[in-house]
Assembly symmetry: C2
Homo-oligomer: 258 residues x 2
């Protein structure tokens, strides 16, 4: 009945993998990888507006639906944010709502708000073996070490140590940390071009040692949460090790399971 013309759609799809099934990879995943590369290279910076779907479709020579599916996944992974009528934006940690994405400690009563920061130590050092292992460095490589206390409503609640690869955070000084307003991850992405994508966290219960007792103002031996967190950037590269001690007198660690 229909004098069907050659199907351009299937042509593009076929060209996409162009081979046997074992090596098959959907077009939209390849597009997703390309867009991720542009994000990583800084072609579009955090907070910026990205090209529209139709524009990207033209650039990659695929249909809008295909780049749409690619962006859908990026949005699901919190790499980009879609806003109807406005466009697609590169996700950023320099926002209010992003602050509690990696910090799951919530007040038992009242609404969550930002803690106050007090830095106890900021210096460069050589990575201890354990730190090097978790950050995928060589033992003895340069790392930036940070130690700080975070307080909610004047109550010291978090005692935390961080290690960052020295290579990536060259100009990171105590002054820069103190004067920066907002979450540390905002500073990392705007000043050092390193964006935290995801993290894994391991939690234990420990008794307060002398340091924890002093800085969190609790009796020695008080039960505290102990968190070890490794954060990753593009390409699943570990770029931060964080060891935190949380007081759960007036706060709790909150998790959603699904």
């Amino acid at each position: 009945m229909n004098p069907v013309p050659p199907n351009q759609a299937s042509d593009a799809a076929t060209a996409a993998h162009a081979g046997q099934s074992p090596s098959f990879r959907p077009l939209y995943q390849q597009i997703k990888a390309l867009i991720t590369q542009s994000l990583q290279s800084g072609e579009w910076k955090p907070g910026e507006l990205m090209p529209s779907e139709v524009e990207l479709a033209g650039r990659f020579k695929v249909s809008q639906g295909t780049v749409r599916k690619a962006i859908d996944e990026l949005a699901a992974e919190n790499l980009v944010v879609r806003r109807q009528g406005k466009g697609t934006f590169v996700a950023t940690h320099a926002e209010e709502r992003a602050h509690f994405r990696f910090l799951r400690l919530m007040p038992d009563e009242g609404i969550p708000h930002h803690p106050d920061n007090r830095f106890l130590d900021v210096r460069r050092m050589r990575a201890p073996a354990e730190v090097a292992r978790l950050l995928d460095l060589k033992s003895g490589d340069a790392v930036v070490y940070i130690k700080r206390v975070q307080s909610f409503d004047g109550q010291p609640t978090i005692l935390e140590e961080l290690w960052l690869p020295g290579q990536l955070f060259k100009g990171l000084t105590s002054e820069r940390l103190v004067e920066y307003k907002g979450p540390m991850y905002g500073l990392f992405e705007s000043e050092f071009g390193t964006r935290m994508i995801r993290a894994t966290e391991k939690i234990r219960a420990v008794g307060a040692d002398a340091a924890a007792s002093e800085h969190l103002q609790v009796a020695p031996g008080t039960p505290l949460l102990c968190s070890e967190r490794v954060s990753y950037t593009y390409g699943d590269k570990a770029v931060e090790l964080r060891r935190g001690i949380y007081s759960t007198l007036r706060h709790h660690y909150q998790n959603e399971l699904s």
Copy 2:
């Protein structure tokens, strides 16, 4: 140029909401709600094969793409499982891999495996005020109370109390619990038609009290994780309260942040 025929697609879409934009609701979300109802009513039971996409599209009088998007979301919420070439299945807790979806306690070394169960108490009681509040019951309503210890490699690690609405779990006895092999949630869904969809968890650090000390074989005051978990079924209805005490000597609570 084109003698375009009336667009059936837009007709269906328009008919879908049929009103002003404030009350707009996408067709695929309505389909999703209908499918969810069928899941809830037990039209398709956990583990069973669901009708194919084309069949559902026919039933609901929409395109395959629309039911596809609906099922995509259900799959993302772990309500169904898609298997290419086979079909879409109702998700079930009676599987190996589902066992650690809600239990995030992992061994420091070695691979995760199932704990051994020892029930200390199973009985019906009246809900204390706090339990009633969290389960959205009236204080004094009947609840099933369960207390148990779970051991890994012979090491008692979890001391746990559960409260379940008596209304929903009428025939739940100690014998039935003991003889059932596999995760408790498997028993709940197969015998009582109650499927856990999601849960919220709050975690604190506490010192071992007399009971914890005895059952977990640790010294009194030993720091332990304390978890309070509320699980929900369809319609965000709370159907389980669980309070667990975890020993983190050889295990840790693992979380993925993204």
